[in-house]
Amino acid sequence: MEVLPEEDFEEDVTVTDDEDDDEESARNLESSLSNIRITPTVTHITKPRPRVALSKCPSSYKENSSQEKLMLAMAENFRQQYVLLYPDRKALLLCPVNECGVQKFVSTTLRSTLLPYPELYDWEGCASFVADYLSLELLDPPFELPKQLSSPTWVLQTQRGTCFDFSIVLCSLLLGAGYNAYCVSGYATKEMCLLDQSRQECPLLQPQIQDKIEEPKKPIKKYSVKPPRDLQSNFERRQEEKEQAEAEAAALKKQLDAERLQKERERPPPDPLRGLRVHCWVLLLAGNREIPENFFIDPLTGKSYSTTNENFLGIESVWNHQNYWVNKQDCTLGCNEMTFDLGDLSKWEYVLCGQSLSIISEPKTLEEPEDEEEEEMDELKVFEMPPSWVTTINISPADMEMRYPGGMKVIEYRKAKLEKFAPYLLKDGLVTKLTTYKDLDCTQASTIKEWFKHRSDHLDERELHTDSNETTEHFRPGRSDALKYHRYLTLVPETERQMDFYSHIRTDGLARRIEKPFEMTETFEDRTDFLFYRHAVYGKQIKVIRAGEALEQRPLQRVEEHFHRDHSKPASKDVAERIFMVSDRRIQVTFHLEDERIIPAWLNFIKPKEAADSQKAQAFTPQMVSGFQVDPSTKPYTNLQLYEMLVELMKEEENVELCIRDSEKEVRSILSSREKEDSYTDLQISIYNPTRNETARLHMEEKERMAKEKKQRQKEKELDLLAPSQVRLGLPEVLTRQDALQLRTDCLNEFKQQLFNKASLIQSRMEKETEELQKKQQWYQKNYLTMSNEDEDDYLAYCSDAMFRIHVLKMRLIRHKERAPQKYLALEEKLKRHPRLASHLL
């Protein structure tokens, strides 16, 4: 398949135009998309690049610093030497121009960045992000290095670039995340260069390797019984096995042949440019971040490959943000034999000597040369790689969420097409759609699998098999009907379907309900009545009149129920199985097996006829019951017990019928609600999603506003010292200087007066107290001879009290006198700074 840019162009326009539309047209878009037949090579853009607005670029983009100039000179020197030494080899990518037309050394184009998104913290996340976020521009011609290498910021802004741009962006992210990452310039196969995955299996379709839990082998115990002797002929068995093996081998061979033929047919025509197609990818070296082994990442797909992968045909050079190495190893046989020990001078030639070698080379090679190096370094005054000229890389959360250019991406695989959409882009919440086809040309769809996100009906996954027309749906927990899984042909009730439920949420513990046209099977889990299985068989539909309404209803013919063992009852009284043969008017009850028994007890009842118009109800007779008891010595049931059992069972039969009718009703309601949900789906918006959740955003804004107001109020509340004096002045709008001075003196005077008043108050109290004490003392002096002991005690108590009070007052006065001047000064200072006075007082 050749690249035909002109032809692809039109289709691309339709796609990209739609991308700009808002969500309204998203559904149309989807249908139109599925109608468009996109050729597998349309994974890249051929539209001309948008122009850089030079005025908006930072200065570092438009000119070179002295260090960079020096670097460029050194690179030029290196290039000349290289051309001289290796005249046969192709030119190196050393100093391409950037989007502003300025020459920059490739290493400085790398800008190691760690973005604040958790998914970009490991290499898988980074690689798939870059593959998703950018769209590819092909190199033109495909066997030459690009002349321009844009900055990662520009690439991310335009969301398009060559494989070199892809690698630069990915490498920047990986370096930021702490990986030992390098850009690799080299040669790869056509499929790799053109991002043509139409010969690969879709990764989503590859069978997931399940860890088989090996059944713990039963330890052979000492007293394990020997298995019964096998009386079959060994010879016959061997003969049989042999035949079987032969048949299997033949079948396998046939299959292999068919597969080989198939492969032969699918093989692409040989590529005339094989080995010449230039490609750029990323190399991750082992060591950092617990990477055990070196490997490649193809930035176009985000997949990892081993360094010996046959798709990579040769390497010219590798570089990171610190240095640049040229490969000196032979690549005629691909990258199979290459070693990536960049410190090995016989295999890799560096541009900048010495420096940063220690980081890259492995620890063992590090030890010896280090000493020499250090000495050398001192002599050489090592030139360090100038810092990156690229400004910080930024990706907005909105862009991060959109992920794909225009919010969607289509990838063609072998017999499959994968469509990816940003969440909330499509109205029905579709995020991934995988269509598999029966034929290589992708015309006949065989299954359509869709993944959804944020749907309010909790639908997670839907798969449609076009052959059987069977749809299966998976739901997340959270539905009111606890539906977990639904398999159906149509949404019409009473047809074949299977519904699984989250049984622990449901009160009836229903786990699964399988319906066939005349059957319904329900299984339950963890019920208190130990029921775990109910199977109902219906007859032909008849008309039933219930509550004045004529209903079409299928009569129940037979209901079978199974129960787990209830250990609170003896086994022979614990029902294991009940069969209501409604149409035969019979009920069969089988009890659980007793310990060490192999045959259970059972009872068969024949229901007595109910009272009809003229006839009386049939009386119960012992002949209506038959049964078997394992142990002939147990006491047989009395007639009363049997009768009571029968009455109980008849009641149960009615209950069971009600249960089954309820189940039918539930199925109908689930189906109708599913129909409604499918035709109109709401997308759920998390309360933690401020960009989408309107109410949450409003709430937040409201909260912020309230907080602001509160702050404001608090400010206002602060005491206005000037208010009383200002009122006396008649509240002038603007204070004159004179007024201001007046205000100040008033205020100060008032405060002085206050302080003075307080002091005199304390003083007067003290005097009063002292006076009283003196009086008392005099009185005591006069009368102490005639006083009783009690009075004397009183007096003494009073004295000590009074003394204490006087002392306290004295202390207070002293403190007040001490602090009054300070307070006065503080007020003065405050007034000086007061906003309304400050201007006048300075």
Partner: protein, 520 residues
């Protein structure tokens, strides 16, 4: 109010019959039960209120009774209820009972009402550990301390004491609340948090002291239990009282001569070394016994788990076969009921009968196979367990022989010392004073020798006895175990065989019935 004039009665047959009929099933069920007759031991509930009963009588047949109402009578003594061990609910309110008695066998009782009687002391309820609800209202309980008796009922949640003299006391409510902390309802009311708190603070110290005592008792009981368990383990290992000097002590317990001889000069050291050596040997037996016991237990467990596994496996297979047969049989019977042609039916019936015989053969051969398998492993088990026991016995015998050697040695040394002392006594060379007991012995050579050898004989006897005891017990344990396993297996086999026979004959009878009914 004519019941007041009625004469006091004793419960009799007629009264019971009437009550059962009144309270039994009604309607069609009643007819059926009347026709069939009611067995007294099947009755679950009985109400005998307002009947002027003086004496409880005739109730011993009602063994499965769970609820009995005897309220509003004139009963004076609680009697005749010994057999009603399944009672959960007993109402004796509004009677003339003075003493609580005769309730000790009703251990399942949860709800007991003695409301409005003349009881003055709460007592005689010790065995009724499961009591939830107790009603003692309107009685003559006068001692507040009597309430403490109720502390032992850990499940008691509802208590009624209203209308007793103790309620007059001011601290009644707080006292009861404090001492019965698990109580939820007291005298028709829910006990709220506040009452609890005040009660607790008021009686804090008394209760804490009491709890301390109870805790100590509990701990003592537990310690006793642990030591009992340990002893039981030793007994199971057949080496009880061998982990110390107990054997040595028992040797000297019933040895009057030995006691006297022990006072001889120089004997103390000899005895000391003898004791320590004996003890060391005993401990050897003890340790070996415990390890051997653990091994035997593991062996027995392994055998049982394997045999149970095999039986369960076999049972599952057989049950599956039987269930398959049963479901196909039912299907067939339904089909046959549709058939009207006699000959065709006859064919079907004979076919079915053949299948039934085939089933019986399959099941029996399966059973036979299991019997063979079990017999094999049983033989292995028998061999290895008897090997174990034999090995242990040999070991123990070896050590006991060492014990005897030690004793012989001791005997010789003792004799030597005794004779030497005798010589000294005779020569009057002894420095210390000799006690009188000893003087009696140290008369002449024969007396001394006799005493020493008597002591020696007793010692040997003790050792022999202990050895014999160990051997007989371990042997009887082994034979008992093997016999019980064998018997169990025979029982199981009989049960299974009879089960199969029973079922097959049932199936065949059923077919025969069908054939007969068709012919008629």
């Amino acid at each position: 109010m004519n019941w007041q004039q009625d004469e006091p009665k004793v419960i009799d047959e007629e009264m019971l019959k009437q009550a059962i009929e009144e309270q039994g099933p009604q309607g069609q069920a009643g007819d059926i039960s009347k026709k069939e007759g009611v067995q007294y031991e099947d009755v679950l509930q009985l109400r005998l209120d307002y009947r002027n009963i003086l004496k409880i009588y005739h109730l011993w047949h009602f063994t499965s009774l769970t609820k009995l109402q005897l309220d509003n009578n004139v009963i004076e003594r609680i009697e005749g209820l010994k057999n009603l061990t399944n009672l959960v609910w007993l109402d004796l309110s509004f009677n003339n009972i003075q003493v609580i008695e005769g309730l000790n066998s009703l251990v399942k009782l949860k709800d007991l009402s003695l409301f409005n009687n003349r009881i003055s002391v709460i007592e005689n309820l010790d065995s009724l550990r499961d009591l939830h609800v107790l009603s003692f209202g309107n009685n003559a309980i006068a001692q507040l301390e009597n309430v403490l008796y109720l502390r032992k009922f850990k499940n008691l949640r509802t208590l009624n004491l209203a209308g007793n003299p103790i309620c007059e006391e001011e601290s009644y409510k707080t006292f009861v609340t404090a001492y019965l902390p698990d109580l939820v309802y007291l005298d028709y009311r829910l006990l709220d948090e506040q009452t609890r708190e005040t009660a607790y603070t008021k009686y804090k110290y008394a209760i804490e002291g009491m709890q301390e005592n109870e805790l100590q008792e509990q701990q003592a009981i537990e310690a006793q239990k642990i030591s009992n368990e340990e002893l039981q383990l030793h007994k199971d290992a057949f080496v009880e009282f061998l982990n110390g000097p107990q054997l040595y002590d028992s040797m000297f317990d019933e040895d009057p001569d030995g006691e006297k001889l022990a006072l001889l000069p120089g004997m103390e050291e000899l005895l000391e070394s003898f004791k320590s050596k004996m003890e060391a040997l005993c401990v050897q037996i003890f340790d070996a016994g415990l390890t051997q016991h653990a091994q035997r237990t593991a062996e027995v467990e392994s055998f049982f788990s394997c045999s149970h596994e095999a039986v369960a496996d076999n049972r599952q297979k057989a049950a599956q076969i039987a269930a398959d047969f049963e479901s196909s049989r039912r299907q067939k019977i339904l089909e046959m009921q549709q058939i009207t042609d006699v000959e065709l039916l006859e064919d079907h019936i004979s076919l079915c009968q053949e299948q039934a015989s085939q089933l019986s053969e399959t099941l029996l051969s399966l059973e036979l196979q299991l019997v063979d398998q079990l017999e094999d492993i049983f033989k292995d088990f028998e061999r290895s367990i008897s090997d174990m026991v034999g090995g242990f016995i040999e070991y123990v015998q070896g050590i006991f022989a060492q014990c005897r050697d030690l004793e012989n040695q001791h005997h010789e040394q003792q004799l030597e010392i005794a004779l030497a002392t005798l010589e000294k006594v005779v020569k009057n060379e002894l420095e210390e004073e000799i006690p009188d007991d000893m003087a009696m012995l140290l008369v002449d050579k024969d007396t001394v020798t006799n005493a020493v050898s008597a002591s020696h004989d007793i010692h040997l006897l003790k050792i022999d006895n202990r050895e014999d005891e160990l051997l007989t017990r371990i042997n009887s344990w082994m034979s008992g175990l093997l016999k019980s396993i064998h018997d169990e297996e025979v029982k199981r086999n009989r049960k299974r065989t009879s089960e199969i026979r029973n079922y097959v004959s049932y199936v065949k009878d059923e077919l025969e019935d069908m054939r007969l009914s068709e012919h008629h």
